[in-house]
C-alpha cells in the first residue's frame, strides 16, 4: 500500500482538476460529494498504509515518482515515515470532516463546485508539503497551500475586504517564503542537494551551533513564521477569516498554519544542532502565544477570537519545537487540529444559524437553540483550556513541563506559557459564555436554528477526538512518542522531567486554567465582576494597531518609494535621459543648420577654411614645419 501512497495526493488533485473543468456540469450537491469522497478515500489509503507503522519501528520509505530537478539533487518523490504519516492522517481526516461540513455550509452558494475544487486543491497541496522527501518538494507544497489559501480566503471576491485579505495572506506568506528560499540556497550551497536524505544524513558533519546551521535554521524559521502566523508576520491570519468558515477551520486552524511546525519538526536534525535558533523559535512562539492571547480577549467577532487563539496555540507549538520537544509540538499540533477545527466549525454552525451574525455581543443564550453545536463546542472549550482529560490538557501540559524542565531561561518561557494558559481559558470562556449563556441579544428577525446534519456530524466526530485524542500520548502511555520515535531517532530530543515535578506543574496549569474560567464566569455569566454591555477595548481589539503600524511603516513608504521610482526616477530620470539624448541630437542638428546660411560666399569661406585646415594638418603632420 505504501507504493500507492501517491494516490493520497493524486485523488484530491484529480478532484480539483476534474471539478475545475466539469464542476459546473456536475452541479451542486454532487460536486461536493465527489470531492468529499475523494478525500475520504485518501484518508483510508493513508490509514492502511500507516498500519505497519503503528506496530512501531517504522523507519520510513521513499517512494520515487519521477525525476524532477536533477541538478538540485532532487527527484519528485515522497517520504512515508511516521511524521508524514501522522500529518497525512490529520490532513485527510480533518479535511474529510470539513469537506462533509462544507457540503452543508456552502449549500446554495453560486460557486459551490468551485469551492470544492479549491478545497481539494488544498488537500493535495498540503499533502505534497508533508509527503515530499526534499526541501524542494516541501517548498512546492508550501507555495501551493499558499495559493489555495489565497483562493479560498478571497472566495467571495465581490467583497473587496475578502479580496484584499486573500492578497494580504499571500504576500505576507511570501515574505516568509523569502526567508525559506534563502535557507534553501544555503542548504544547497552547503550540502549540494535539497533532499532530506542528503541534508539530514550529513547534518552531523556541520559544526554544532555554527554559523551555517544557525543561518539555515533561522531562515527556515522566517518561512515558518510566515506560514504559521507567528510574530511578526501573523497579521494575515485574522484577516483570513474573510473566507468561508470551513476554510478557516481547515486551513487557518487545523492544517496549513501548522506547516511551520511540521517544517521545524522535519528539520529537527538541523534545529537540534542550532541551539540559538531553537531558542529563538521558542521565544518567538512564547511571545506570540502571549501576545495573541491578549488580543483574543478584546475581540467581539467570534471568528477573530478563534483566529487569534490559533495564533496563540501555534505559539505553543513553536515553543515546543524550539525546546526540541518535537513530539510534544507535533502532539499539540494534532490535538489542536481537532479542537480548533471543532471550534471553528462550531462557530460556523453558530454563524450559519445566526444568518451570518459574527458579533458575540449580538448572540447569547444559544444553548437551547443549538444544542449540538453547544455540546460539541463545550468539549473543545475544555480541551483548549487545558482541563483534563480533554486532549488539549495532555499536549499543552507536556509542552509546559518540558520547557520548565530545561531550566534556566526556559523557565521564563514556561511562565509566559502559563500566563497564556490562563488567558486562553479566560477568552475561550468569554466566547462560550457570551455566545451560549445569558440573555439573547440578537437582532430582530434572526431566528437561530440548529444546522443540518451534514454540519453537525463532523462536529460530533471532532468532539470525540477533541475529548479523547490526548490519550494517545499520556505520560502513562506515550504511544505517539513511540510511533514518532523513528523520525527523530538520531536527534537529541528534550523529554519531560521525571519524578514529581510534572505532576506539580500539571496541577498548577489546571488551577490556572480553572482560574481563567472562573473569572470569565463571574464576569460574563453571573456578572459579579463589573462589565459594561458590549464592552469595547479598542486598543486590544485592533490588535495593538500592528496592522496600522505596518501600513504606516512599510506599505505607505513602500508605495511612496515605488511611486517616486516610477514617476520620477524612471519617467523623468532614466527615460528623461534617453529622451534628453534624443533632444540633444535634435538641438545639435538645428544648431548645425545655422552654418548653412544660403549665402554662397559663406560656403566659399567654409571651403577655403577647410582647405587651409587640411593643408595645415598635412604640413604639420608631414613635418614641413
Amino acid at each position: 500500500m505504501v507504493d500507492l501512497i501517491w494516490l493520497v495526493i493524486a485523488l484530491p488533485l484529480l478532484g480539483a482538476v476534474g471539478l475545475l473543468f466539469l464542476g459546473k456540469r456536475i452541479g451542486e450537491p454532487n460536486s461536493g460529494r465527489i470531492a468529499t469522497l475523494l478525500v475520504i478515500a485518501s484518508f483510508f489509503i493513508a490509514l492502511i498504509a500507516a498500519l505497519p507503522a503503528f506496530g512501531g519501528d517504522f523507519e520510513g520509505e521513499n517512494i520515487f515518482l519521477f525525476e524532477w530537478l536533477p541538478s538540485l539533487g532532487v527527484n519528485f518523490s515522497l517520504l512515508w515515515d511516521p511524521l508524514s504519516a501522522m500529518m497525512t492522517l490529520v490532513v485527510t481526516g480533518v479535511g474529510a470532516l470539513i469537506h462533509i461540513y462544507g457540503t452543508g455550509y456552502m449549500d446554495g452558494d453560486s460557486r459551490y463546485p468551485r469551492f470544492f475544487t479549491y478545497l481539494n486543491l488544498f488537500i493535495a497541496s498540503m499533502l505534497i508539503l508533508v509527503l515530499g522527501d526534499s526541501f524542494a518538494t516541501m517548498f512546492v507544497g508550501w507555495e501551493l497551500v499558499g495559493l489555495s489559501s489565497y483562493l479560498l480566503i478571497s472566495f467571495w471576491f465581490e467583497k473587496p475586504s475578502a479580496a484584499a485579505a486573500g492578497k494580504k495572506a499571500f504576500v505576507v506568506n511570501r515574505i516568509g517564503d523569502f526567508g525559506f528560499l534563502i535557507a534553501l540556497m544555503i542548504i544547497f550551497a552547503t550540502f549540494g542537494s535539497l533532499s532530506y536524505d542528503t541534508v539530514f544524513g550529513n547534518a552531523d558533519k556541520l559544526q554544532v551551533g555554527g554559523a551555517t546551521v544557525t543561518a539555515i535554521t533561522l531562515l527556515l524559521l522566517v518561512g515558518a513564521v510566515g506560514k504559521s502566523a507567528q510574530l511578526p508576520l501573523y497579521v494575515w491570519l485574522p484577516d483570513a477569516m474573510e473566507g468561508p468558515t470551513p476554510v478557516s477551520a481547515l486551513i487557518h486552524a487545523a492544517t496549513m498554519v501548522t506547516a511551520g511546525v511540521y517544517m521545524i519538526a522535519r528539520s529537527a536534525s538541523l534545529f537540534s544542532i542550532a541551539p540559538v535558533s531553537s531558542g529563538v523559535v521558542a521565544t518567538v512562539g512564547a511571545l506570540t502565544a502571549l501576545f495573541a492571547a491578549i488580543i483574543a480577549i478584546g475581540q467581539r467577532d467570534i471568528k477573530r477570537v478563534l483566529a487569534y487563539s490559533t495564533i496563540s496555540q501555534l505559539g505553543y507549538m513553536f515553543m515546543a519545537v524550539g525546546a526540541t520537544a518535537y513530539v510534544a509540538g507535533v502532539f499539540h499540533l494534532l490535538t489542536h487540529a481537532f479542537f480548533k477545527a471543532l471550534l471553528f466549525l462550531g462557530a460556523g454552525a453558530v454563524i450559519h444559524g445566526m444568518h451570518g451574525e459574527q458579533d458575540m455581543w449580538k448572540m447569547g443564550g444559544l444553548r437551547k437553540k443549538m444544542p449540538i453545536a453547544f455540546g460539541t463546542m463545550v468539549v473543545a472549550w475544555l480541551a483548549i483550556s487545558g482541563i483534563p482529560p480533554f486532549a488539549g490538557f495532555w499536549s499543552k501540559d507536556e509542552i509546559l513541563a518540558i520547557t520548565y524542565g530545561k531550566g534556566g531561561a526556559w523557565v521564563a518561557l514556561w511562565a509566559v506559557g502559563l500566563v497564556t494558559a490562563a488567558l486562553t481559558a479566560f477568552y475561550m470562556s468569554r466566547l462560550m459564555f457570551l455566545t451560549f449563556w445569558g440573555e439573547p441579544r440578537w437582532d430582530d428577525g434572526i431566528e437561530p436554528h440548529e444546522s443540518p446534519r451534514s454540519m453537525t456530524l463532523p462536529l460530533v466526530v471532532l468532539a470525540v477526538f477533541a475529548a479523547g485524542a490526548g490519550l494517545i500520548n499520556t505520560p502513562f502511555r506515550p504511544s505517539l512518542e513511540h510511533f514518532l520515535e523513528p523520525a527523530f531517532a538520531f536527534i537529541k530530543v528534550a523529554h519531560a522531567p521525571e519524578g514529581i515535578t510534572p505532576w506539580v506543574l500539571a496541577g498548577v496549569s489546571v488551577l490556572v486554567a480553572l482560574g481563567g474560567i472562573a473569572v470569565a464566569y463571574r464576569r460574563y455569566v453571573t456578572r459579579t465582576l463589573p462589565v459594561e454591555e458590549g464592552e469595547r477595548w479598542d486598543l486590544v481589539e485592533n490588535g495593538f494597531g500592528v496592522d496600522d503600524l505596518y501600513g504606516r511603516t512599510i506599505v505607505l513608504p513602500g508605495k511612496a518609494v515605488a511611486e517616486s521610482a516610477a514617476f520620477t526616477v524612471d519617467a523623468k530620470g532614466v527615460d528623461g535621459l534617453v529622451n534628453g539624448v534624443g533632444g540633444a541630437v535634435k538641438r545639435l542638428a538645428d544648431a548645425a543648420t545655422v552654418l548653412q546660411t544660403g549665402q554662397v560666399r559663406s560656403y566659399g569661406t567654409t571651403m577655403f577654411l577647410g582647405a587651409v585646415a587640411v593643408i595645415a594638418w598635412l604640413l604639420i603632420r608631414g613635418g614641413a614645419f
Binding site: Q596, Y603, T606, I615
Partner: protein, 495 residues
C-alpha cells in the same frame, strides 16, 4: 601616332557620339523624346558593352596605358594619359548603370522639357563621359579635364529648368563653388608638378617614380598640392566641410537631374581619389590617410546632424549624401586592404540613391524643386509598392541587414578596422544610429500616418523599371553580395 587603340577611350567616344546623336536627332527628326531615348539608350548600352569588353581584354592581356607621346629627344612630351584596367572598366559599368537608371527614372522630366529635352539628355551623356574620364585618367591634367567636362555639364543641368525660380540659384551656387574647387584642384596639380616635375601617375617619369627615387626632406609644396587635390575631389563628392553647395543645389535643381548629379559624380570622384592617392602618393599614405579620415569623420558628423533637422526630402538626401561621402572616404581608406569593399559601397549606394530619387520624381513630380517630406504622408496606403521601395532604400542607406547597404558597411568597416581606423568605425556606426532618425522619419511618414490624398499609382514604365531594378539590386546584393564582391575584387587599377 599610328595605331590608336580606341578601346581604352571607347566609352567616352560612345557617349560623345551619343550626345551628338541625340542633338542631331532632335534637330533633324523631330521632337519625339522616344527617338532621343533610343539614341541615348544605345550610347549607354554601347558604353556598357565597351566596359565589359575592356574587362575581358584586360583579363586576357593585362592592363595597359594609352595615349601618350614622346619627343624626339626621348623626353616625355606627354606621358600616357589613359589607363585601361578593370578598375576603369568596373567604374564604367557602374556609371553606365547609374546613368541609365537615372535617365529612365527621370525621363518624365525630359518629356516635360519639350524640345530642350534633347539638350538635357546630351548634357547628361557628356557629363557621364567626363566622369568616366576621371576614373580612367592616368594623368592629373587628364583628371582635371574629365572633372571639368563633368562639372560644366552639371552646372547647366542644375540650372536647366530656367522657368523655375530656384533653379538659377542652384546653378549659380554650383557654378561658383565648383569653379572655386576646380581652381583649388588644378592649383594643387600645379604644386605637385612643381614639387615632382610630373603630373603623370604612371610611367618612368611619374610622380610615384619621382617620390620613390628622391627623399623629400622638405615636402611642403607637395603636401600643399596633395591637400588641394584632396579638397577638389572631396568637394565633388560633397564631403564636409566642402559640402555646403550640395543641399541647395539638390533642392533647386529638378529632381530628375539630381538623381544623376548626386550619384555619378560621387562614383567618379571616389574612384579618381583612390587612383590618385594610392598610385600617385602612396609614399605619403600616413599623411593623407589621416587627413582623409578627419574629413570622413567630419562629413559623417555634419551630414548626420544636419540631415536630422531637415524637412525637405531632397535636402535631407543631400545631407545624408554628405554622411555617405564620409563613409565613402572610409572606403577610400579601406581600399588599402580591400578595394572590393569600396566598389561595393559605391555601387550599392549609388543604385539605392537613384532608386530613392526616382521614387521622389514619381511622388512629387520629376521637375519639382523643393519636396517636403510631408508629401510622402500615407504613401503606405496610397501606393504600397512605392512605399515598400522607399523602405528598402531607406533601410539600405541606414545600413540595416537584408539590404546591400548593410553588406557595404560591413565590408568597408571590416577593411577599415584592418587598416587601423577602429575609432573611425566606432564613430561611423554610432553616427549611423543617429542617422536612423531621419531615415526612419520618412518611413514613419509614409507608413504610420494617414492622408486624404488620392492614390499615387506607379503607372509610368520608366520609373517602374528604374525603381524595380534598384530594389532588386539593393535586396539582391544584400542577400548575395558575392555577386558583386567577387567581381569587384579583380577591379584593380593599373599599377
Amino acid at each position: 601616332m599610328g595605331n590608336i587603340a580606341f578601346l581604352p577611350i571607347g566609352l567616352e567616344v560612345a557617349l560623345l557620339v551619343g550626345a551628338i546623336g541625340v542633338l542631331m536627332v532632335a534637330v533633324t527628326m523631330g521632337r519625339s523624346s522616344r527617338d532621343w531615348a533610343v539614341v541615348a539608350g544605345a550610347a549607354i548600352g554601347v558604353g556598357f558593352v565597351i566596359s565589359v569588353r575592356q574587362w575581358v581584354v584586360v583579363g586576357e592581356s593585362g592592363t595597359q596605358l594609352a595615349f601618350g607621346t614622346k619627343g624626339a629627344d626621348g623626353l616625355a612630351v606627354a606621358n600616357q594619359m589613359v589607363a585601361m584596367d578593370k578598375f576603369g572598366a568596373l567604374g564604367g559599368m557602374i556609371l553606365m548603370v547609374v546613368v541609365g537608371l537615372a535617365l529612365i527614372g527621370s525621363w518624365q522630366m525630359v518629356k516635360d522639357l519639350g524640345s530642350r529635352g534633347a539638350e538635357f539628355v546630351a548634357l547628361i551623356l557628356l557629363s557621364a563621359a567626363g566622369m568616366h574620364m576621371m576614373i580612367v585618367s592616368a594623368n592629373l591634367i587628364m583628371l582635371f579635364i574629365g572633372l571639368e567636362t563633368a562639372s560644366i555639364a552639371l552646372y547647366v543641368i542644375a540650372g536647366f529648368l530656367r522657368n523655375r525660380r530656384g533653379s538659377d540659384e542652384s546653378a549659380m551656387k554650383y557654378f561658383l563653388m565648383g569653379s572655386f574647387a576646380s581652381a583649388l584642384f588644378i592649383y594643387g596639380v600645379a604644386l605637385v608638378f612643381a614639387a615632382t616635375g610630373s603630373t603623370s601617375l604612371y610611367g618612368s617619369t611619374s610622380i610615384g617614380q619621382f617620390l620613390a627615387g628622391n627623399a623629400m626632406p622638405n615636402p611642403g609644396i607637395l603636401l600643399i598640392g596633395i591637400g588641394l587635390i584632396l579638397v577638389g575631389l572631396a568637394f565633388k563628392m560633397s564631403a564636409a566641410p566642402f559640402h555646403q553647395w550640395a543641399p541647395d543645389v539638390y533642392q533647386g535643381a529638378g529632381t530628375g537631374a539630381v538623381a544623376f548629379m548626386s550619384t555619378g559624380v560621387k562614383v567618379a570622384a571616389v574612384a579618381a581619389m583612390v587612383r590618385v592617392l594610392y598610385i600617385g602618393f602612396f609614399q605619403f599614405y600616413d599623411d593623407w590617410s589621416m587627413a582623409v579620415a578627419l574629413i570622413a569623420a567630419l562629413s559623417i558628423l555634419v551630414g548626420t546632424a544636419t540631415a536630422i533637422a531637415q524637412s525637405d526630402l531632397k535636402r535631407m538626401l543631400a545631407y545624408s549624401g554628405v554622411a555617405h561621402a564620409g563613409f565613402l572616404l572610409i572606403a577610400v581608406l579601406a581600399a588599402r586592404v580591400s578595394l572590393d569593399a569600396m566598389w561595393f559601397y559605391l555601387a550599392t549606394y549609388a543604385v539605392s540613391l537613384v532608386g530613392m530619387l526616382t521614387v521622389v520624381t514619381v511622388v512629387a513630380g520629376a521637375s519639382a524643386g523643393p519636396v517636403s517630406i510631408e508629401s510622402f504622408r500615407g504613401l503606405g496606403k496610397r501606393s504600397p509598392m512605392l512605399a515598400a521601395a522607399i523602405a528598402v532604400f531607406m533601410f539600405s542607406m541606414a545600413g540595416i541587414p537584408g539590404t546591400s547597404g548593410f553588406v557595404a558597411k560591413l565590408v568597408v568597416f571590416t577593411a577599415a578596422d584592418l587598416s587601423g581606423f577602429r575609432w573611425l568605425v566606432v564613430l561611423a556606426l554610432v553616427a549611423s544610429v543617429a542617422g536612423l532618425f531621419f531615415y526612419l522619419r520618412i518611413i514613419v511618414v509614409a507608413f504610420f500616418e494617414d492622408s486624404d490624398t488620392e492614390e499615387t499609382p506607379l503607372t509610368l514604365t520608366g520609373p517602374r523599371i528604374a525603381i524595380g531594378f534598384a530594389v532588386a539590386v539593393t535586396v539582391g546584393l544584400g542577400l548575395w553580395p558575392t555577386l558583386l564582391l567577387d567581381f569587384a575584387r579583380e577591379a584593380l587599377p593599373h599599377l
